[in-house]
Symmetry: C2
Subunit: 215 residues, 2 copies
């Protein structure tokens, strides 16, 4: 649980705010200027009360007659979710998955940019891959310090993950997005988010077979 501006914001709420922003960007591009909580809720697949509650966390407020101002909400979410002046990100492990993520983020998010990639393979280092320079892992500490990077994406094999995570934390990282199928041990204050494709696919396969009881 994080506390911002004296208000507690849960992890799930942050995820939903990120989703609302994307939906609002679509509405803005379509020329929509205002939106009611129940409209945003329908798009996000949540309840209207959930939306209103979540939006209490960001500064922007709505009006009973016109709902929420789309541009105001986008701005409020920007202030809440984005770092001032952008936030650089490092990616370690330029294999199949690493390259796919570099390609995906290349030039897409001006605020959240992968500015440095790392690999142990000398045939990959020294090159620019999908617009991102690839350094040898030995340069991790220096590059993170020089570029002020506090967030790392881990796309290395399971065996290497804990070692790289330790190196990232020593180099000052405070957040790690981990694709390796291992539980990382990190000191308090470092936030780890696991994105384990196999585990999620097993879950989907299970429910595809065993069905679900809708509430």
């Amino acid at each position: 649980m994080a506390v911002t501006n004296g208000r507690a914001v849960s992890e799930k709420t942050i995820g939903r705010l990120s989703l609302y922003r994307r939906l609002l960007n679509v509405l803005r591009d379509e020329g929509t200027t205002s939106v009611y909580s129940h409209e945003l809720a329908a798009l996000a697949g949540v309840t209207a009360a959930q939306v209103r509650r979540d939006l209490m966390g960001v500064a922007a407020s709505g009006s009973p007659s016109r709902g929420y101002d789309v541009l105001g909400l986008i701005e409020g979410l920007r202030v809440f979710l984005d770092a001032e002046g952008g936030q650089p990100v490092a990616l370690v492990g330029v294999g199949n998955l690493g390259r796919a993520i570099l390609a995906y983020f290349s030039g897409r998010r001006p605020n959240l940019t992968i500015t440095a990639a790392f690999d142990s393979d000398p045939t990959k280092t020294g090159r620019v891959i999908h617009g991102c320079r690839c350094h040898p892992v030995g340069d991790l500490a220096r590059v993170l310090r020089d570029e002020g990077i506090r967030v790392g994406i881990l796309t290395v094999p399971a065996e290497a993950a804990q070692g790289v995570a330790d190196a990232l934390v020593r180099a000052g990282a405070r957040g790690i997005l981990n694709f390796a199928p291992v539980r990382l041990r990190v000191p308090p204050g470092v936030h780890v988010e696991d994105l384990d494709v196999t585990m999620v696919l097993e879950k989907v396969a299970y429910f595809a077979r065993n069905g679900e009881n809708e509430a």
Copy 2:
């Protein structure tokens, strides 16, 4: 919430069972024959009570003196999590991410195999990519029927996602792992799991900046 053998199993529990299995495989490979709930809990990053509660769902039981039998637990989890005779999976969208996922699963999981890939680009179809045949999307219904596929992975651009999801559902899919940054609308009984890399990275970046209060 799914009900199996008369026992309700939450989505989160399925995810943890999948994690336990991976940890148990490592223990087995190390030659460990039995494990206590608190040992497994430490590896998984959960409480011992949580482990015991989760394991109640699978058939295998433990003994107060020796804990749980590693092989027995792995077998119990196999029966619970895996489909008899394996479960084929389809992947739609052979771009950077799609190829990375094909490479990742290629030959790794005998029980959960991506047996068919689909793309709309004629330069990609008709070929075998990372051991998986790539079909034109027009063949979706036929191939899913012929191969008995009920699970699909969506790695297409956001604009195409809903259309492909509809086609998957019409072709009999009951589970979808969605990488596209949109909320899919599917009929009841179809399980969708969203794996939105941007959203998760935004979350990590947020907590890397704003810190966390450990409970």
